[in-house]
Amino acid sequence: MCGNRILIGLGKSAAVALILAWSLFPIAFVVLSSFKPGRDIFAVPPRFLFDPTVQHYLALATTWGGFFQGLYNSLIITAGATVLAVTVSVMAGYIYSRHRGALMTGSVVFLIVVRLIPPIVVTLPLFPILNWLRLNDTHAALILLYATFFVSLGTLLMRTFIDQVPRELDEAALIDGAGRVKILTGVIVPLVAPGMLAVAVFVVVYAWNEFLFAFIFTATKAKTAPLVISEMIGSIDGVDWGVLFAASTVQLVPVLVFVALMHRYLIAGLTAGATKG
């Protein structure tokens, strides 16, 4: 019996280690390679001991200045999409939580159906429309698109969090003379802030790394970092892998730091509604 438990424990540890290795190896390869001399990156047999160099980061700064502009655009767009998605999700989630009816149920189904549509289906018809609206190559276009694609998931998540806030608190606030907006901002939001952060994490991770919409709808002014990285991959003149990995590392760091800080709320968001309180 005791032996079985040890074996099970070892098995679980091995499985976790394998999954971690599978997930972390590509990231470790990219980060380490960004500090390797160019000729050693793909050397066979692989070189694990090497003289680290920052030449790729210097080359990134001197030959790909547009990458940092792309990072700036990514930051603006990610922040804007997150704020918009979270705000709308909280408001919509509150309504779904406090009101019932056939119309509400129908609209929830619609929210789920929207999530099933592959983004590529809407991108090409949207291209001339956004161009006509003069939104092509603007931050606003991507902010709206990213927020739109995440409002459905965010709303369902926020509804689950708001469901856990007793209605009696709303009623007490109503008796005290608070309106709906005051109830939302003064009573509900402070209590569901972890849920809002969970939604924010999802949107940030998605918007920071998103490529398809950025490729279709931007050109020069609103070009994001993933798009600039894709330009570093050229089928004609070859890839400077060191610079590419340096750019990938730089792009990886902000979202890694953000997720590391917010991981408690991410787990809360993933398990929201798992148990009925």
């Binding site: 001399p37 050397a43 190559d137």
Partner: protein
């Protein structure tokens, strides 16, 4: 252990964003030319031995150039979508020679009137074959700016290690040497004889032409010599079975060819001449100065009778028909097509479209392959002519080639399938 509170995290993020916003610099120029191109077009005009070749044009026009660059296929996709709008932000685009069908040509300005009004210097010096590739329905729609002609690259050090004194002069010798050069080198690196990208039609077409065949001729004859195509696919399959092509052949990409050659993991590959500097780059290559190139060899049965027609791909500069300031666009094209800029771009690694560039001593001195490239270019032609279903035809060719090479389909059946599946796609 102290942790960041939510307020502190939010404050840090907002502060960081504000700092970035303040640090953002803006360029000051009265005009901006928006160019949609591949990154190689930007680099050959702005970096390298000849320096920034756009400087004179920018100063004389008080303009800046804003480059938007993509890989080849995404670039063409984006160019056509932009050109099909009511108006585009892009002033100049770069077009591949196998794309301009009659439909596509309508998206771009005919350049004849611009050439008549403000002619390009010594236009007749631009290789006529490249000009004709961009002449559709009698209209010149692009000015050639770059060509990439395929050569056989080999690692001289690996050949020496196996006691091979000279590179192959026939395709039969190439196959034999590739099999010999599938070994583990002294450096402990497993070497394959040859590495080829499986997603480019260039390579099966080169092998077919080496046996006197082709995929689609200029007058749209499909697989004119079935036997030659079967020999070509048979040779590729034979090399794969012998381990002389990588096991990962089906997923090998163009960048892998360069990387493998640089790392000494492959002895031979087929690349454009212009890659010579890159494969010998001392910062990236484990064999700087030891990677050489020769003309892709023809079959021994045809040697001395028929010249090998290497595949050449060329790029041209276009003005979208919906561009805002077409005269401004033309001034850029005119400047970048001059003799001086063409030679400078060639020194920066571009494949020059002017015949006179190969005779220029400054270019010849910096490009050891200049004479050979000029000879090969004189006989080269595109992989296949442009037609509306060209991309689908290429995809079918690649699919059947992969099935044959990997042994999933007999070679004869694969060639028959290429003919049957591509025939309906050809223009009637």
């Amino acid at each position: 252990m102290s942790t960041l509170s939510r307020r502190q995290t939010l404050a840090s993020m907002l502060g960081g964003t504000a700092l970035l916003a303040m640090a953002r610099t803006t360029k000051a120029a009265s005009k901006t030319l928006n160019v949609l191109s591949h990154n190689v077009h930007r680099t050959v005009l702005t970096t390298g031995a000849a320096g920034d070749l756009t400087d004179t044009w920018r100063k004389s026009n008080d303009a800046e150039i804003s480059w938007t660059t993509f890989d080849s296929n995404p670039l063409q996709d984006r160019l056509f979508r932009e050109a099909s709008l009511n108006q585009t932000e892009f002033d100049v685009g770069y077009l591949i020679d196998n794309r301009p069908t009659s439909q596509i040509a309508k998206l771009f300005e005919p350049l004849g009137p611009y050439q008549a009004k403000a002619p390009i210097e010594a236009f007749e010096d631009i290789a006529p074959g490249l000009v004709s590739a961009f002449t559709v329905d009698g209209n010149l729609i692009a000015i050639p700016v770059r060509h990439a002609t395929q050569a056989l690259f080999y690692n001289e050090a690996l050949l020496e290690e196996k006691g091979i004194k000279t590179p192959p002069t026939t395709i039969e010798e190439l196959v034999d040497q590739a099999k010999q050069l599938t070994f583990t080198s002294k450096a402990g690196t497993p070497v394959v004889g040859m590495v080829l990208a499986s997603d480019l039609a260039v390579f099966p077409v080169m092998f077919a032409r080496a046996f006197g065949g082709d995929f689609i001729t200029k007058d749209f004859r499909l697989v004119p010599d079935t036997g030659a195509m079967e020999k070509a696919l048979g040779v590729l399959k034979d090399m794969f079975d012998a381990g002389a092509l990588p096991r990962s052949y089906a997923t090998t990409k163009n960048d892998d060819q360069v990387t493998w050659l640089q790392q000494g993991r492959a002895a031979f590959t087929v690349l454009p001449f212009a890659r010579f500097a890159q494969v010998n780059n001392k910062d990236q290559s484990a064999y700087p100065g030891r990677i050489k190139a020769v003309e892709f060899p023809i079959s021994s049965a045809l040697k001395g009778q028929v010249a090998m027609a290497a595949v050449v791909e060329s790029w041209g500069m276009v003005i979208p028909a919906n561009a805002r300031n077409k005269d401004f666009s033309w001034s850029y094209i005119q400047a970048m097509s001059s003799k001086a800029v063409t030679t400078g771009a060639a020194r920066n690694g571009n494949g020059p479209v002017r015949v006179s560039t190969y005779a220029d001593p400054t270019f010849a001195a910096s490009q050891p392959l200049a004479t050979l490239e000029a000879q090969v270019l004189s006989r080269a032609r595109p992989a296949f002519p442009a037609f509306p279903e060209g991309v689908r035809a290429q995809a079918i060719l690649l699919e059947e080639v992969q099935l044959a090479v990997l042994g999933r389909k007999p070679v004869k059946d694969a060639v028959a399938a290429i003919r049957d599946r591509v025939r309906p796609l050809l223009p009637s």
